[in-house]
Amino acid sequence: MYELIFAFVLGSGLGVVSGIIPGVNVFVSILLAFPLLLTWEPTSIMFMYISLASVHQYFGSVSATVFGIPGSNVSFPALQEGHAMFQRGKGAEAIMTAAIGSFIASVFAIVLIHFSIPILSIFYQMFNTHLQVILLTLACATIIIFSDNKAWVSFILWCVGNLLAMVGYHDFFGGWDFMTFGITALYSGIDLLPVLIALFVVPVFAKAWNKGGKIEFEGVSVSGYLDATRTMFSKMKTTLARSSVIGALAGFVPGISWGLSTKLAYITELVSRKKKGTYNANGDVHCLVAAETSNNAGVYTSMVPMLFAGIPITASTALVYNILLFQGMVPTVAFFQGLYEIVLVGFALSSILGLFIAGRYVNFLKILSGINIRKFYSTIFVLLVFICYYTAQKVYAGMDNLVILACLLPFGYLIRKFNTMPLIYGFVLHDIFVEGVYRLYFFY
């Protein structure tokens, strides 16, 4: 029992830290606890994992919204919409609605999976390469068509993202060397962090820098939460339902899972809002809620293939699987199915905790009110550069990241007037999209 409590506390704590700091994702957080986990019971490991993954989703959006720091790889919608809301003094609303939306989606995912257990295998079998490629094509096409730029500009940005992702040595494509120029640091490709900072965060900061001014930030109260919940249920019913369903289903996609959940739900909402003419270019709360809602639903369903088929489909679940192997467990399907209830309880508890502490975190951030926006962004930028170096230096790649960042920064500044989301989509989805298309070629 004590081990379970400790697992929950550790998982949630790591979820908060990893959600705030870019470069520290769920996978890395499990590595942090790796030696400890080797000594734990499987139930505690799963309890810790699901608490971590769930709380991580709550806090990734908080640091993206407030600081413009993409705390996790799925935080770009929060950075795009939430941070824009923060810039116009609506930061508290952004965080609160995102947290409530995430909680609602978590409940939805729990109910969906619980009552779908008899037909889960049918669900799961739908998510083959064909459907994955269709979903990824839709994601890329819609972000190109419906971002704030002209379609051809977005297309070029998307291509640039793909080109950056292609840099490296590709064993899978028969040993193809693309733009490494013989530099060994480039053989394993370009890290996400320098690309995100230079080509996504810097354009956002540059726009805000020109406006200047001071930060306005109000905290939230319990009544604020209740009002926001009421408002969301009356005005965002469709957004919540649609994003929860998209998030839950996309969570099944191997290799990308809740990352795809976020992207699909965000662009679906973006398209819907733009068609209706209701999209707020200065930070749209519906789009933010859609993205944040979906990733929480996706986190839970990403566990389903492991729990009910014994197959980990994300890097972090694969690591958990390997920890169990390390311990000498025989990870059979029956073994994993026996862990379903503990995962359910862990996810439910961590969702409640995430909802609560995300709110407390908001109030703490009232300290930011009145700070000069240029000083604020300068500080954050320096911090991001430090993190970009430090995260990679652990594997002797700190200078590599700094050089890549320095090379990309001028381009980030030059494209500051554009919405660079298509570029980031191109970069992040490249590998799984190209592999899927390549595999389809072999099917036909």
Partner: protein, 301 residues
């Protein structure tokens, strides 16, 4: 003054959180293992938590005992090679010599490991043909005679050529479907988009009926159903060493091969508790074997 204090406190908050995590890992490629007091470091250029890391942690480090220094985790094999060429520290570890020794555009692969650094074959891992347990009509006969069966493989570099040669020599009408990792091909089999896997992994929901390993006597050996000259050959990771005498490195390799830990490791990954017979060869004979086997693979690419 007040604003400066605020700014400072926010910065302190973030730095504190950052420092909280500095005791261990930050990056995807960062292991979290403690340092030892010895002077032999263990290399890791693959993802922590994967098969090679498990081998490091559960077999190599315990075998090094007091000689163990630390795990040197460096992202990517090309950077690892750079490091190994420039360090004067003792380093020992496993290297996927087969896949990192494929010439690139007629030049040496950036991950090329010189044979002088190869100590011995570490172990071997076989390939299995498997289908979903209970799948109707699937099995050895269908694998050989089924028209247009779809077989999922590890499509990375040299392994794709090997898999395609063996599978197509058995069933020329088979469709070879490449995947980049087990996280992709295991779901591929489970969702039914491929009928069989030709891969190293097996799971309790699979039935595996053929193997490249003659030690796996409960399965049909590929050599008996295929005329490919590589049908009965496994893949052989090697032990490598830097800044150590070959005598010292060979002693470590022998200690690992003689340990119970390596057999336990095999059992955990569902392989026979046996080393390949080539491990008993002299070092020169092992190197010759590797070179010939590798050349066979290159010829298939």
């Amino acid at each position: 003054m007040l604003k400066a204090k605020r700014l400072l406190s926010i910065l302190t908050l973030f730095l504190s959180i950052t420092m909280l995590s500095t005791t261990s890992a930050f990056s995807d490629d960062q292991p979290t293992w403690k340092k030892g007091d010895g002077d032999v470091n263990v290399l890791l250029y693959y993802r922590p938590g994967g098969a090679y890391d498990r081998m490091n942690q559960s077999v190599i480090i315990p075998s090094l005992g007091a000689d163990y220094g630390e795990v040197k985790a460096i992202r990517g094999c090309a950077k690892m090679i750079d490091y190994l060429k420039n360090t004067d520290e003792k380093v020992f570890g496993i290297w996927d010599w087969f896949s990192t020794n494929v010439p690139k555009d007629g030049k040496q692969n950036p991950c090329h490991m010189e044979m002088e650094n190869i100590v011995s074959i570490a172990y071997s891992f076989p390939y299995h043909a498997c289908h979903v347990k209970g799948a109707e009509g699937r099995g050895l006969d269908d694998f050989i005679n089924g028209k247009g069966i779809r077989v999922g493989i590890n499509g990375n570099g040299i392994y794709k050529g090997q898999a395609a040669d063996v599978i197509l020599s058995i069933n020329p009408s088979a469709k070879i479907i490449p995947y980049s990792s087990s996280r992709k091909y295991l779901p591929g089999l489970k969702t039914g988009e491929v009928d069989y896997l030709y891969a190293g992994q097996s799971r309790d929901w699979m039935t595996c009926f053929a193997s490249t390993d003659v030690n796996e006597t409960d399965m049909t050996n590929f050599g008996t159903i295929s005329d490919s000259k590589i049908a009965d050959k496994n893949t052989y990771p090697v032990f490598v060493a830097f800044n150590m005498s070959m005598k010292e490195a060979t002693a470590i390799a022998k200690k690992i091969h003689g340990s119970e830990a390596i057999m336990d490791y095999f059992e955990k990954v569902d392989r026979p508790r046996a080393l390949p017979k080539e491990v008993k060869y002299s070092r020169n004979k092992q190197l010759k074997f590797l070179k010939n086997w590798h050349q066979d693979l290159l010829d298939l690419m």
